[in-house]
């Protein structure tokens, strides 16, 4: 108490004069500006290379103006349609005019693809109708547009394709997220499961594989890091070269060497056959097994490095102290060493897990169909099916998933526990 009063008194005596306070504030501002200038280039880089793409990905996953730009007039016309039966002839006529224009602009294919996403199998309907309408002159089209449309394909008489058009025409939509979660919206606005479950299963498989890979790297990495931490510096450095070797060879080379090892007439199978252990070669490549084994190999350093650097800092005297107090080596290890190595362990596990959840190249090369992970389907939608919006939705979900996992980790173990060195 007495001390507190003294503190107060000295505090009062030490209060800055206004002039001094202004000088001090100016100095703080100058220092802040200097600090900002130091990181400004990095900030700009990060904005361009990281924040902007992610923001655009998040945006794209819910924003799709393609159809709205292609056939704006048709979408206005169909807005009044009640969704039952065939839309009015006005709508059909307007759409026929729009479709002809698209056919001449050679953009009808885009429209076909977009509609097809909402009603699979309609791509050819749109394309063939567009081809038919291209040759019709404008006058005829204006008068007999609806009839021409219905003649071209029976599908135009059904409500399904028009609903698909309406859906595809929405500029802002949650449908990609729903698709990414294997859900769909029914016409009355409720949400239901899709008939084919693809993506949830894939997310589950991805997490499961990442977990297995993490556990495997842990099983392989922990004893290695422990051994390195116990050995002399020169020996530890020597072993460290082998840990880092995978880092110094190209990822592609490492993955392809797994192909050479695992393929049907590869090293492993020919050895097994030569040893007489099996008659027929095993299917090792293009399986979940090959993805897991190759990724474990590739990600091992991410486990070993943080573990090693934390273990190196654990003085041998802790274990000795425990043993001098009468504890046997294994209980002493579990009670003393393991908790002390936990920061490295959680850093390594988190690193490996998060990297493997988003891993692409290895499953793409050695995974076949069975060993595909979520990033491969994202890549598929970007490169093959051209469905960037769905790819963006899947990617965003992956991002949220990782953030959620990190949050869980922080909640239960504490992010402060992570130690990389």
């Amino acid at each position: 108490m007495a001390e507190a009063t003294t503190n107060l008194r000295t505090h009062a005596a030490k209060r800055l004069a206004p002039e001094d306070a202004r000088n001090a504030a100016r100095e703080v501002r100058a220092r802040r500006l200097r600090a900002f200038l130091f990181v400004a280039p990095l900030l700009v880089f990060v904005m361009f290379a990281f924040v902007a793409p992610i923001a655009s990905m998040l945006f794209r996953s819910a924003y799709n103006p393609t159809v709205a730009n292609l056939v704006p007039a048709s979408l206005v016309a169909i807005a009044d349609w009640d969704g039952e039966g065939r839309p009015s002839d006005d709508v059909l006529g307007q759409f026929a005019i729009d479709l002809k224009r698209l056919a001449n602009d050679r953009t009808s294919g885009q429209l076909a693809e977009e509609i097809n996403r909402f009603l699979p199998g309609t791509s050819s309907v749109v394309k063939s109708t567009a081809r038919t309408l291209r040759r019709v002159d404008d006058g005829t089209l204006a008068q007999t547009g609806p009839a021409l449309l219905l003649d071209a394909n029976d599908a135009w008489a059904e409500p399904g394709i028009w609903r698909a058009l309406q859906e595809a025409g929405k500029v802002y939509t949650t449908s990609y997220y729903l698709t990414a979660l294997d859900l769909e919206m029914t016409r009355d606005g409720s949400i239901q499961q899709r008939d084919t479950q693809i993506y949830l299963k894939l997310y589950g498989k991805t997490l499961w594989m990442a977990l297995i890979i993490t556990v495997l790297t842990l099983i392989l990495g922990y004893p290695l890091a422990f051994h390195m931490a116990q050995s002399s510096t020169s020996r530890a450095n020597f072993l460290m070269v082998f840990v880092l070797l995978p880092f110094w060879t190209s990822l592609l080379v490492r993955t392809t060497s797994w192909i050479a090892l695992l393929q049907t007439n590869g090293v492993v199978n020919s050895t097994l056959i030569a040893l007489g252990l099996t008659q027929d070669p095993f299917e090792l490549l293009y399986t979940q097994f090959s993805t897991i084994i190759a990724m474990t190999h590739i990600l091992l350093p991410f486990m070993v490095l943080p573990l090693y650097s934390v273990m190196r800092g654990i003085d041998p005297s802790y274990m000795r102290a425990a043993m001098s107090m009468g504890s046997r080596p294994i209980p002493a290890f579990l009670k003393i060493y393991l908790p002390m190595s936990l920061p490295g362990l959680s850093a390594g596990a988190l690193l490996v897990f998060i990297i493997s959840v988003g891993y692409y190249i290895t499953p793409a090369l050695v995974g076949g169909t069975d060993g595909q992970m979520i990033s491969n389907i994202i890549a598929f939608h970007m490169q093959q099916s051209n469905n960037w919006e769905l790819a963006a939705a899947l990617g965003s979900l992956l991002l949220f998933l990782i953030i959620a996992l990190y949050w869980l980790y922080d909640r239960f173990i504490g992010a402060g526990n992570i130690k990389l060195g």
């Binding site: 005297s317 802790y318 000795r320 102290a321 043993m323 001098s324 107090m325 009468g326 504890s327 002390m340």
Partner: protein, 401 residues
């Protein structure tokens, strides 16, 4: 700020000690008997299968003794402790406790308490959990554990600190926890490897006092390692001076200081002057030594001295007096004054002898402290019983301190 805390802590400490003596102290009181408790018999250690780090270590320790291993860095002190604790194997020889060899006993079966230089408190456990660890290992019931823990926390005056983590303690407090943890399972032998090395001078002195007090109170045997000779001299029953893997001398502090067995010990313990000379002859326990430019002087003869051989005569700076003085003396040599350094409670005078070697004299800072100008010639006086002649070991020890 910190001084106040230390003083307060220390005061509380004393009270607790008194209280403890009244209540639970008796149970742990010193065993009697003078049988050999711990014995090292020609123990050798090599790490690399080529050279010996410990070259034939012999010592017999009695129950309740406080033995200090003192020696320069790299002389093998830690190695000896590690062999005793069982963390390093013994290359040859035996270590025995109560006549039973423990060479092959696992460390966790030796029942030896250990205080490490870095304390080795488990950072993820509270102070109480740290103290409870050896008890839990021994299967003690929780309630008994709690009682014992609070007893020992009081003993080291940390009664309120049971729920803190080691990271939240000061250096001195950590040290005390480490000490309590090494004692709590009542080992008969406690090893301490430079336990006070990381503390500042004031705290170190306080902890020296505490360790001595606990040792006397609880009666365990201590094997203590230190660099600090003042610490060794003030705390130990006996000191083993170590150099180069060999015990140079193992004796009580006073004997070590007054009667060093060889030039290394004379140089290593305390401050010493060495005057080079030639042994003229040996008469019983005394040697007659020729000093360059001064004729002969008589000194106590150390072992291994041979007539006609070269030798060094050691005289402690505080045993030298500057003429005129009222002290009795047998010898009186001329020396040129070099410098005078004011240290506070005493003054150090530097003189040069005829062979150009420097010699230090410590004079109490009182009115009799003489004044000299540079180059003045003074006379230094001392008693025969205060100087010892050692065989010259080739390389000449300098002035130490």
């Amino acid at each position: 700020m910190s001084t106040t805390v230390n003083v307060a802590a220390r005061r509380g400490f004393l009270n607790a000690a008194v209280a403890f003596k009244k209540t639970g102290g008796a149970r742990l009181n010193k065993h009697s008997g003078t049988d050999v408790f711990l014995e090292f018999d020609d123990v050798k250690k090599s790490y690399d299968q080529k050279s010996l780090v410990v070259k034939g270590f012999n010592i017999a320790v009695e129950q309740g003794e406080f033995i200090t291993l003192l020696g320069p860095s790299g002389s093998g002190k830690t190695t000896v402790l590690m062999m005793l604790a069982g963390f390093e194997s013994v290359t040859s020889g035996t270590i025995a406790i109560r006549g039973q060899s423990i060479n092959k006993t696992a460390p966790y079966k030796r029942n030896i308490g250990m205080v490490f230089q870095n304390y080795a408190l488990f950072p993820h456990m509270t102070v109480a959990e740290n103290l409870g660890y050896p008890l839990g290992v021994r299967g003690m019931a929780k309630a008994d554990q709690r009682k014992r823990i609070s007893e020992y926390l009081d003993l080291v005056e940390l009664g309120d600190f049971g729920n803190r983590y080691p990271g939240q303690l000061s250096g001195g407090q950590r040290q005390r926890v480490a000490l309590a943890r090494a004692m709590i399972f009542e080992p008969t032998l406690i090893l301490m490897d430079e336990p006070l090395g990381a503390l500042d001078k004031k705290l170190r002195e306080q902890m020296q006092y505490e360790i001595t007090r606990l040792h006397e109170q609880l009666g365990f045997t201590v094997m203590y390692v230190t660099h600090d000779q003042a610490e060794a001299l003030s705390m130990s029953n006996r000191i083993a001076v170590f150099n180069d893997g060999i015990v140079q001398q193992c004796a009580a502090p006073a004997e070590l200081y007054e009667k060093p067995a060889n030039a290394f010990v004379a140089e290593f313990i305390g401050e010493n002057n060495f005057i080079e000379g030639q042994v003229d002859r040996i008469e019983g326990k005394h040697a007659i030594v020729t000093i360059k430019g001064e004729g002969t002087i008589t000194a106590e003869a150390a072992e291994g001295l041979v007539a006609g051989g070269r030798c060094v005569v050691s005289v402690r700076p505080e045993k030298l007096f500057i003429h005129p003085s009222t002290h009795a003396h047998d010898h009186d040599i001329k020396a040129t004054f070099v410098a005078r350094i004011y240290v506070g409670d005493f003054i150090r005078y530097y003189f040069r002898l005829a062979d150009n070697k420097e010699i230090v004299v410590k004079v109490l800072n009182d009115l009799s402290a003489p004044e000299f100008g540079e180059g003045d010639v003074g006379r230094l006086q001392w008693l025969t019983s205060d100087c010892i002649a050692f065989p010259h070991s080739g390389e000449m020890p300098g002035v130490t301190g």
